[in-house]
């Protein structure tokens, strides 16, 4: 049993949870993260979508539904949160490019332009205008990235394939960590005699130090380089997760990884501890405050049964949009299925409504009415609400 009581126990090790946890350790609090596994951000492009409707993402906020959690954070709050995120990534191997006040586009694996806000520096040079010639270099047999798709609807683009001898993104990214592999690869590119323009790669340029590898290749071939995200497993997502986790450990936080919560101990309106499932003696994690950031359906924070939706840790009341018949629109491409509004309703202090717990705060995609697919606001929402929940938690503790 852990002798000490944590100031804050964060449940869920994704974007929202890490944002909260990193802010709080930075303020000197003793923080623990409990996560049942690696988060959904590993499957993401690593880009921080804030809101895709306008040139300035913040301009889209008034147009969101009345219950959208962004309204609880406000423009300034969102900006502060994104700047905080940029700052903590600044000294890591994966710094970010961009500003919270401006959206940009990146090239997708099918040649479309995707709107996002902050991007890993390895994607900073991403080009979606077709007046620049782009040469894509991909890898033979790579199954989650087919460069031919990118040429659809775009004239000014060609591709070449390098035989790396393996067909998974992780396999190739691992090869890029090896200096001799890179040397051979670079000399192969040099023999291609590429025309002027930019060179693009699927996002597999190493796992630990992508920017260094990208710069090395760029310097030697004399071209500007950028990465294009791939289908999951996504290396930029994996890099983001690993970086956040190691920053958290460095900042003095404790992590309980691969742990599932078995029970909750509470006294009156206060949660005192959660107990983790374990093969041996169950371990108890006590805390003064708790932040729930277990995510939505994909992460398992919410679970739908045939007729309703459950919150999986505290069994909190969930906002459910109608009955199952109403959850999905008929058209796959029509974003904004009603089920996306499902989640936990919170008050202005990010406490779940209609519950007795006074020391529980909720953040991230588990919040109701976030409609992440419709608004393209996934990581932005996680960072903004994670940051705000942490600040409120801080006030609560003092």
């Amino acid at each position: 049993m852990t002798p000490l009581t944590y100031d804050v126990v964060v449940i869920g090790g994704g974007m929202a949870g890490f944002t909260s946890a990193l802010y709080l350790t930075g303020q000197g609090y003793k923080v623990a993260i409990i996560s049942k596994g690696d988060p959904v951000c590993c499957l993401s492009t690593g880009c921080i979508d804030v809101l895709s409707s306008d040139k300035n993402p913040l301009d889209g906020i008034p147009g969101l539904s009345r219950d959208h959690p962004y309204h609880l954070v406000g423009k300034k709050g969102i900006t502060d949160a994104l700047n905080f995120f940029k700052r903590i990534m600044q000294d890591t191997p994966i710094p970010y490019s961009g500003t919270p006040r401006k959206n940009r586009t990146i090239l997708t694996p099918i040649g479309t332009a995707k709107t996002t806000c902050l991007v890993p520096m390895t994607m900073a040079g991403s080009e979606t205008e077709s007046d620049t010639y782009i040469h894509v270099i991909s890898f033979k047999g790579l199954k989650d990235f087919f460069p031919s798709y990118i040429t659809s609807g775009r004239r000014n683009i060609r591709f070449s394939l390098y035989d790396a001898g393996t067909s998974s993104t992780i396999g190739i990214a691992t090869l890029f960590e090896d200096k001799s592999f890179r040397r051979e690869f670079i000399s192969w590119i040099q023999n291609l005699e590429l025309p002027h323009g930019k060179v693009a790669f699927p996002a597999v340029l190493g796992i630990r130090n992508p920017l260094k590898i990208l710069t090395e290749i760029s310097d030697q071939i004399g071209r500007e380089i950028f990465e294009i995200p791939t289908l999951p497993p996504s290396i930029p997502g994996l890099r983001l997760f690993r970086t956040l986790k190691s920053s958290f450990i460095k900042s003095g936080g404790d992590n309980y990884w691969g742990k599932v919560i078995a029970s909750v101990e509470s006294q009156g309106d206060q949660i005192e501890a959660v107990t983790l499932k374990s093969p041996g003696r169950p371990s108890r994690v006590p805390g003064k405050a708790f932040i729930l950031s277990t995510g939505s359906f994909v992460s398992g924070g919410l679970y739908a049964t045939r007729n309703t939706v459950k919150e999986t840790v505290f069994d909190l009341p969930v906002f459910v949009p109608g009955t199952r018949k109403d959850w999905f629109k008929e058209d796959f491409f029509q974003a904004g299925h009603a089920i996306e509004t499902a989640g936990i309703k919170v008050d202005s202090s990010f406490r779940p409504v209609n519950t007795r717990f006074g020391n529980l705060f909720v953040s991230g995609s588990i919040l109701s009415h976030a409609e992440i697919m419709k608004n393209h606001c996934g990581h932005g929402l996680a960072i903004a609400t994670g940051f705000r929940a942490a600040k409120i938690c801080e006030e609560f503790l003092s």
């Binding site: 993401s44 694996p109 332009a113 989650d144 798709y149 659809s152 999951p232 999905f328 008929e330 796959f332």
Partner: protein, 500 residues
Amino acid sequence: MIKTDVIIIGGGATGCGIARDLTLRGAHHCLLEKGDFASGATGACHGLLHSGGRYVVNDPGAARECIRENAILRKIAQKCVEPTGGMFVRLPGDSKMFRDRFLKSCDEVGISTEVLSPTRALDLVPGLNPAIEEAITVPDCSIDPFRLCMLNAYTSRHGGGEILTHHEVVAIVKEKGVCVGVLARERLTSQIKEIRGRIIVNATGAWGDKIAQLSGSHVPMSLSKGSLIISNHRLTNMVINRLRPPSDGDIIVPNEAVCLAGTTSLPAGDPDTIEVDPVEVDIIASQAEQMIPAFGSTRLIRTYTGVRPLLKSDAADGRAISRGFRIINHHNGMFSILGGKLSTYRLMAEKMVDVISDEFGLKVACKTADIPLEGQDELSGYPLSKRLKTMEDIICECELISRGDVEHAINSIGTQYIGDIQHRTRLGMGPCQGGFCTYRALGIMQDLGRVSPDESLKILQQFLQRRFKGIRPALWGDQLKEEQLVESIYLGILNMEPQE
């Protein structure tokens, strides 16, 4: 222009069966199918080779046909039939009188049965509801409708017949009031082909009246929609039927690694636009759960629905209409073959070809009941042992399909249709329902020069719409989780725009 003796419209079991029968009797023919094989009711059924037990009380004639054909197909189509055996289970509250009638009728029709105690039934199928009163075994089997069609067509293809899939008949050519040919449109290129023949056979099931109308005729049909659900697990190794008069959700059939449960019976309109209602899913799942409790909590990977092409009758309910079949002579050079069921497809084809032979004055007897289906040895098949052999370069992780399998399928049939690859390799048949692997398979088709990047994106979009239609009515639990991930890939990472 293609010239032939018999034009068969429809590539379901009946049409393909007619093609094989004609081949064995030496008549030239051309089969036209607007989609892939088995894309109508043949592919949208339970995949159950009936013993006849289901019909024995209300329709002994159909039951008699079933048990006879059941014995024949076990013999001639070994690679399509899994002799699982089946049982009818009686739950508390189910009529004992019906059970007595059932046993008596089976005896009369010649369906072998054995009455089992609950303990013995549970020994055979441990997933059964332990509360069952008793079970009666029957010789039901699981059958693969797609392979059945493919093998029947194989005989025809190798015997000089023309088999044109993805060709939709858009007009019937008539001269002096007699049908002399058809115009068919190739689906992808929209190219029109003319085929001339002496007899046209309309074996289009639910589309029967549409085709008959093209010739200025009409067939009386009563369309009935039947929906099914697919579980992610094989919850039983035997076919499980409910021992009561035919009703919703009373049959569960094991098929490869999954189970199919259904059906419903609702009046249907246009067979091209039918959809599964979430309420039907709830009905089937809760009925199936009564026989096999795990059906209530198991993950459902997809739903589907088909239209039974029943003969028109005065019966109010589709279930009360006979499952028998009929051949209609339109007296204009066209024949329609209607009704029937997958289990009796061979018999239907035999009777149809008997009629054609009479017209042609052919004196060759039907051989389809005696000669095993050709091409069974060549069938690479989907056995897991084979799939495990080549674990390299897996493209579809759910069903263990390798890049080599996909390339082989694409090259051997030269297709541009993703559905063709899925039917022939099981690509995309698992829990993700092609959410990941279809993008890859189309990428491989681009690599092989079969489709352009633009075409493949269009095909991918159409596929995603079709896929969504099948899974939407059963989205909860793990399947909803998977669906949101797939959505985040296509609408998020790829920012795929809806197609107008």
